[in-house]
């Protein structure tokens, strides 16, 4: 039972970290039809800048805010100068966002060197909770709470606000949204910044979670996030949340019981979903929520 609960908590917390990365990716794809491979680069910049600010200031809150700000600034530069000129051209988008990913990952080394950096847990999140012999690490609970709150906030944004309504309509028919007087380019930038901020936040939260950050982690997590987005249904926020939890929990159990097969698991899940429901678990044309 202890092992089961521990694995479950690990899986859910990892899943919610992947969700932070996947949420932006799925919204950007749903609204802008852009497969943004550079998303992992924003995640790794969030991880490094968060770790650095935390080390310099010893304030985890400041580290998170700073990382999100860095992610959003980089996201704005990416959208404005790299992606906007290639809207509607998938081949160019693929090449330019892949290039963006490499540049973002490699440029980390200019600022922080080529070696991995150790990251400590904030003092107030060190330690664990114990119930009946079950030990649950505090930081993982924190990640779960933050992940769930962010999911709720995103859901409320999309389903209860006017800008959310515009985004959902934009996912369905961009042209018609423009014909209603709505500036779709502005909407694109907003969604891109939101996605970039979430990716950077994911990175900043992951840094103390894994205890170490390295430049290549962006690609590693971006691949996971892409798998999650496809399994959940491209453009569906709920689908990404569900798929993140499935991938996170299944990964945690597999790594414990069958570690040799844990790498193949995500590909297997992806293949099964694509065979059974090619649009993804909750994928349906036009359901952003």
């Amino acid at each position: 039972m202890e092992v089961f609960i521990n694995l479950l908590v690990n899986g859910v917390s990892t899943g919610l970290l992947i969700f932070l990365l996947a949420a932006g990716l799925t919204l950007i794809f749903g609204l802008m039809s852009v497969l943004n491979f550079a998303h992992g680069g924003l995640f790794v910049w969030g991880a490094f800048s968060g770790a650095w600010i935390f080390k310099e200031t010893n304030s985890f809150l400041l580290a998170i805010v700073g990382a999100v700000a860095v992610g959003m600034v980089l996201g704005w530069v990416l959208e404005r100068f790299l992606i906007r000129p290639v809207y509607g051209n998938h081949v160019r988008q693929l090449l330019i966002t892949l290039g963006g990913m490499l540049v973002l990952s490699e440029s980390i080394k200019i600022f922080w060197g080529p070696n991995p950096i150790r990251v400590n847990l904030p003092a107030w999140l060190e330690g664990s909770y114990q119930f009946d012999g079950i030990i649950i690490i505090k930081y993982r609970v924190f990640v779960i709470v933050v992940g769930l709150l962010l999911y709720l906030a995103l859901w409320l944004l999309l389903s209860r606000t006017q800008i959310g309504l515009m985004i959902r309509a934009g996912v369905l028919d961009k042209e018609m949204v423009q014909a209603l007087g709505i500036n779709v380019k502005g909407l694109f930038t907003f969604v891109f910044l939101l996605g970039a901020g979430l990716a950077a936040l994911g990175g900043a939260l992951l840094a103390p979670y894994s205890g170490v950050v390295f430049a290549e982690m962006g690609m590693q997590y971006a691949i996971l996030a892409f798998i999650v987005v496809i399994i959940g249904g491209m453009g569906s926020l709920q689908g990404s949340a569900l798929a993140s939890l499935i991938v996170g929990v299944a990964g945690a159990f597999m790594a414990y019981y069958m570690p040799d097969l844990s790498l193949a698991l995500n590909m297997l899940l992806l293949a099964i979903v694509l065979l059974v429901k090619p649009t993804g678990l909750l994928g349906e044309k036009g359901s952003a929520v």
């Binding site: 515009m166 042209e175 014909a179 209603l180 007087g181 709505i182 349906e284 036009g286 952003a288």
Partner: protein, 234 residues
């Protein structure tokens, strides 16, 4: 007085030269019908006015202001509502959400407009919480027209509203469009001559990207030769 004026529009779609010097005008408070066979350039004319397919030469003036060359969302904000040929439904949004979205950047008295549309199309009130993708073809068309009117009531561009609808539904819809003339100006693209000729004040006929005939609808109805020549109606 001309509310909308198109002057010598030339529009290309890729390598195809679709509009070849289109000039026309729409009088305020009227229903002007644009006729023509498939592929004549009617839809492209509306899309050029909306800025989706900008013209390479020529101009569009609305209320004597040049609107060609500005982004679509700014054209819409001048009070121009658009109903595309495929209705442009936001299938996962409810009727309520769709109409609320139309109010977002609307010009004029939005609540009044909303009330009037619900009075004109009571089905929309009945299916208020239903997803628009689940509505019938006629209800979708009503929603598309109500959305366009709430968004911009200065001029409505309506592209083939009768397409795919039953004769009873077409009749109902045309009655509603006629009523809307009391409060707005309409540029209607139609292939259904019998129906459109009953509600239109003026007409233009397009062929191969050019305006080949125009005048008052009354004159066209009496001009059997032109009806036969341009519209194939005996």
């Amino acid at each position: 007085m001309s509310l909308l004026k198109l002057d010598n529009l030339e529009t290309y779609l890729g390598q195809y030269h679709i509009l070849q010097g289109v000039s026309m005008s729409v009088e305020e408070g009227s229903i002007t019908v644009l006729f023509g066979r498939n592929g004549a350039g009617k839809t492209t004319t509306l899309r050029t006015i909306m800025g989706f397919n900008p013209s390479t030469t020529g101009s569009v003036h609305y209320h004597d202001q040049k609107i060609s060359g500005i982004p679509t969302h700014l054209i819409s904000r001048k009070g121009i509502g658009y109903v595309p040929e495929n209705q442009g439904m936001f299938s996962a949004l409810t009727v309520e959400e769709t109409l609320n979205l139309a109010k977002a950047k609307s010009t004029g008295e939005t609540e009044e407009k909303m009330e009037w549309m619900l009075e004109l199309f009571p089905d929309l009130k009945k299916f208020w919480s239903k997803k628009s993708g689940l509505l019938s073809g006629g209800q979708k068309q009503m929603l598309a027209i109500a959305r366009a009117y709430i968004n911009g009531d200065g001029l409505l561009l309506i592209d083939e509203p009768s397409k795919g609808l039953s004769p009873i539904m077409v009749e109902k819809l045309m009655e509603s469009i006629l009523k809307m003339k009391e409060k707005t100006t309409i540029l209607l693209v139609e292939q259904n001559f019998l129906m459109a000729s009953e509600i239109g004040d003026y007409f233009y006929i397009m062929d191969d990207g050019k305006i080949v005939h125009d005048g008052s609808m009354q004159d066209l109805k009496e001009d059997k030769e032109s009806c036969q020549k341009y519209l194939g109606i005996a």
